[in-house]
C-alpha cells in the first residue's frame, strides 16, 4: 500500500522561483491537507481540501496556492519563493465526512525545501 506519496523529497529553489509540490493518495480519502514543519514550531496548516473542487485556507496560506481536481491529487504551488518558505512540507489525508476530526491523519514522508 503506497498511502500518501510526496514528490520531490528534496528541492533547492532560488528566491523568486516557482515550483509545485506533488501529493497523491491511493486510499480514496476525501480530506487532504498541507502542513509545514519548522524546527521548534510544530506543524502549521497551510491549506486543506474536503473533496475534489473544494479547498480552503489554513493557518499560514500566504505565498501558497492549491487545487484539487481529483480525489487522489492535491498539489501545492509556491509562487515567487522566499527564504521564509524554507521548511519541510507534509501532505496528509484522512477518511470520513462532516466537520469532525475523528479519523486519524495519514502523512506522507515530506518534501524538504530550501530557498536561497
Amino acid at each position: 500500500n503506497a498511502g500518501v506519496t510526496q514528490t520531490p523529497k528534496f528541492r533547492i529553489l532560488k528566491i523568486g522561483q516557482s515550483m509545485t509540490l506533488q501529493c497523491a493518495q491511493d486510499m480514496n480519502h476525501n480530506y487532504m491537507y498541507w502542513y509545514r514543519q519548522d524546527p521548534g514550531m510544530g506543524l502549521k496548516l497551510i491549506y486543506y481540501s474536503v473533496g475534489a473542487g473544494i479547498t480552503d485556507k489554513g493557518e499560514v496560506p500566504n505565498g501558497y496556492n492549491v487545487s484539487r481536481s481529483t480525489t487522489e491529487d492535491f498539489p501545492l504551488r509556491l509562487e515567487l519563493a522566499a527564504p521564509s518558505q524554507t521548511s519541510v512540507y507534509f501532505c496528509a489525508s484522512r477518511s470520513g465526512t462532516g466537520g469532525s476530526y475523528n479519523s486519524p491523519l495519514h502523512f506522507g514522508n515530506g518534501t524538504r525545501l530550501t530557498v536561497t
Binding site: V4, M41, G42, L43, Y101, N109
Partner: protein
C-alpha cells in the same frame, strides 16, 4: 485560539526506565486528542485518539491517558526503538492544532 503545549521538549532515558510525556491543551470543543510518532526524515505516524476524560488506550509499551486539561503518554520499560519525536494534536473541524513535540532518546 486553540493551544497545545508539550513537555518536556527533549527526554533521554535508559532502556527500561519508564517515564511520561505531557500534552496540555486549551481548545473550544474537544473533538479528539491525537498522539503521533515521528521518526527522523519521516512523516508523523498515528498512535492514538482519545475523546473523553478518563479514557485510556494502550499499544505495546505506550499508554495514553486523558484529563480535561491534559494528556499523558506513558512509556513503560522503553527500548531504543522507541526513540522518536512524539506529537500530540487536538482541535475541532479541520483545523487540528499540534504541539511542538517531545524528542525521546532511549539509550542502552
Amino acid at each position: 485560539e486553540d493551544q497545545v503545549t508539550q513537555s518536556p521538549e527533549a527526554l533521554r532515558l535508559q532502556e527500561g526506565e519508564s517515564s511520561s510525556l505531557n500534552c496540555s491543551y486549551t481548545v473550544s470543543g474537544l473533538r479528539g486528542l491525537f498522539w503521533y510518532r515521528q521518526d527522523p526524515g519521516k512523516g508523523p505516524e498515528f498512535l492514538f485518539t482519545l475523546y473523553s476524560a478518563g479514557e485510556e488506550k494502550e499499544k505495546e509499551r505506550l499508554k495514553a491517558t486523558l484529563t480535561k486539561k491534559e494528556s499523558f503518554l506513558h512509556i513503560t520499560a522503553p527500548k531504543p526503538e522507541d526513540s522518536a519525536t512524539y506529537l500530540c494534536g487536538t482541535g475541532g473541524g479541520n483545523k487540528l492544532t499540534f504541539g511542538t513535540g517531545t524528542q525521546l532518546k532511549v539509550e542502552l
